[in-house]
């Protein structure tokens, strides 16, 4: 089977300083969920930004090939994300909720976003939007469509932003700490919704997080990043039960666990 995404020998630098990504290679299949775990400065955020051609100012590709199915997105500094970015590959950030336009209602910006990518009537776009919001577990989606961002809680905005990102039924969703800013109970809700989305639409995902527990709960495979390289990558169960790298063990031991008889009756 042709991989959904393949990355070969990708390197990125910031303003000619040392490499933020070093000769990084991996590939993923359709509908697969990959968790990328690492601490601040490990290059994990740079990686998913690089995949979408959205490097922050000063960022520069110094080599490597990124292909998305049949399409080559990057080769020898020649890049072409046209027709892919935002539609076939979507992205959510840790604070995506704050990227909503504060002076327009959710409904107006949501419908505009849909009409940018699809040729549909506004009414159909409205129905689609309402359904997507309901799918993200938001009560009373009609009210949310009428609301302005300031009238919603952080968790509601984040779920709205995720709903908007997946409305185009992207084949790949890139998520940078999508649940870190949410309350713990909401966090689980959003993680479940993302898993459902994969079952329903077959969306592949790359989820970047500093908490290896988040990756363990969502991902089929986990990649552990440090200093711009993948020090370990493998099946989730294998990585958490038999970590090969010292650094992976360190990340695993840092996860706060409940003490006491958790699995009992």
């Amino acid at each position: 089977m042709e991989p959904l995404l393949s990355v070969n020998h990708l390197s990125v630098t910031y303003k000619g300083n040392s490499l933020a990504l070093r000769d990084l290679s991996f590939s993923m299949n359709k509908g697969e969920i990959i968790g990328i775990v690492g601490e601040s400065g490990s290059g994990k955020s740079t990686l998913i930004r690089a995949l979408l051609g959205l490097l922050p100012e000063g960022g520069q590709y110094t080599g490597g090939v990124i292909s998305f199915q049949e399409k080559v997105l990057l080769r020898e500094s020649q890049s072409d994300w046209g027709g892919v970015r935002g539609k076939r590959i979507a992205m959510v950030f840790q604070d995506s909720g704050s990227y909503l336009n504060p002076i327009r209602s959710i409904g107006s910006q949501y419908i505009e976003a849909i009409c940018t990518h699809f040729t549909v009537a506004k009414k159909a776009a409205y129905t689609l939007a309402v359904n997507m919001l309901a799918d993200m577990g938001l009560d009373d989606p009609e009210r949310i469509m009428r609301s302005y961002p300031s009238q919603l809680s952080g968790g509601m905005k984040q779920r709205t932003a995720i709903a908007m990102a997946v409305t185009m039924e992207p084949e790949l969703l890139l998520a940078d700490e999508p649940t870190s800013s949410l309350d713990v109970t909401t966090q689980n809700e959003v993680m479940n919704r993302l898993s459902e989305l994969r079952s329903r639409q077959g969306t592949g995902m790359i989820i970047v997080t500093h908490n290896i527990a988040v990756a363990a709960h969502m991902a089929d495979r986990i990649g552990v990043m440090r200093d711009g390289t993948l020090v370990e990558m493998g099946d989730t169960f294998r990585v958490i039960s038999d970590p090969q790298h010292e650094y992976t063990r360190k990340l695993l031991s840092a996860v706060p666990e409940l003490e006491g008889n958790v699995y009992g009756s």
């Binding site: 109970t185 500093h210 527990a213 988040v214 706060p256 409940l258 006491g260």
Partner: protein, 301 residues
């Protein structure tokens, strides 16, 4: 942990109502009753809007309570002002979530840690300089850090410096409000280790507020669970999983992301799959055997 003697801090029927013009009044705290005993670490857990930060702000006099009483060593400190309030502030220090917001970007770390020592006249001049170095070492940082600016430190190092400043005036109580929430989990663990160590050495009383139940359990002796402005349950940390009753506490427990639990689940799943495979194989072998028997019978017959 047994409660030793009288509480060092007691909140009695504490209420806080926010009244905004043109909006409904919001009851952020509804009749909160809590005690903190000497040397104890009291954990407070809850989600956004549960009132845990309002509680912290009331205890440290950053907000005035609407009604109720705060008692510090059996003295009512609810409505202190002026000099008495200033002294009281020294006794209860606070560490917040976002260390980078606490620093003056133009003030070096050494000066930042020295400031309260001078302000509260704990010590001056050369002695304070020495104390800064001692405090830095205390929180696991080198003396060279004193000459750095806040932006040269990582988030974890910044939080260490904030803690050094807080313990410098030797307060009775330190209140941590989501003090490790903005940090990576691995850095969080280092800070938690530091807090446990400091507590062992100084026997300081503390209140540790967080949304993360597993973290709160790890560090505190008792846990108060807050929900919509009320304390719905107080449990001993060691008894949490066995004795927590409130459905909200249970839902918080269920939302702790555990690697151990995941491993457990995956192991069970794998074992089940293996069992099924074994059973299938047995069944296949049995069927094969039966066919052979039938064939042999037909031959002999």
């Amino acid at each position: 942990m047994a409660h030793k003697g009288l509480p060092i801090l007691e909140l009695i029927n504490l209420c806080k109502t926010y009244e905004l013009k043109g909006h409904r009044a919001v009851d952020a705290l509804k009749a909160v009753h809590l005690q903190l005993y000497p040397g104890e670490c009291l954990g407070i857990v809850g989600e956004s809007g549960s009132g845990k930060s309002t509680l912290a702000r009331c205890v440290t006099h950053l907000e005035r309570v609407t009604s109720g009483q705060i008692q510090y060593r059996q003295q009512d400190i609810t409505r202190l002002n002026g000099k008495a309030l200033r002294y009281q502030r020294k006794q209860i220090q606070m560490v917040f979530q976002e260390p980078s917001a606490i620093f003056n970007p133009r003030m070096k770390v050494g000066a930042f840690i020295r400031e309260p020592l001078i302000n509260y006249k704990v010590m001056k001049g050369q002695q304070a300089e020495q104390e800064v170095l001692r405090l830095l070492e205390r929180v696991g940082m080198s003396a060279a850090t004193a000459d750095k600016y806040p932006h040269e430190l990582s988030g974890g190092e910044q939080q260490r410096a904030v803690i050094a400043r807080a313990i410098g005036v030797e307060p009775d109580i330190i209140l941590f409000d989501e003090a490790t929430s903005a940090l990576d989990v691995s850095i969080q663990q280092q800070i938690l280790d530091l807090l446990v160590e400091l507590r062992k050495e100084t026997g300081i009383s503390s209140i540790f507020i967080s949304h993360d139940l597993a973290v709160v359990q790890q560090i505190s002796d008792r846990i108060a669970v807050m929900y919509q402005g009320e304390v719905v349950e107080v449990v001993e940390s060691s008894q949490l999983t066995s004795s927590a009753n409130h459905p909200y506490t249970r839902s918080l427990m269920a939302s702790v992301l555990s690697v151990r639990e995941m491993k457990h689940k995956m192991q069970e799943r794998d074992e089940k799959l293996e069992q099924e495979r074994d059973q299938e194989q047995e069944l296949d072998e049995k069927q094969d055997q039966e066919q052979v028997e039938v064939f042999q019978e037909s031959l002999s017959g």
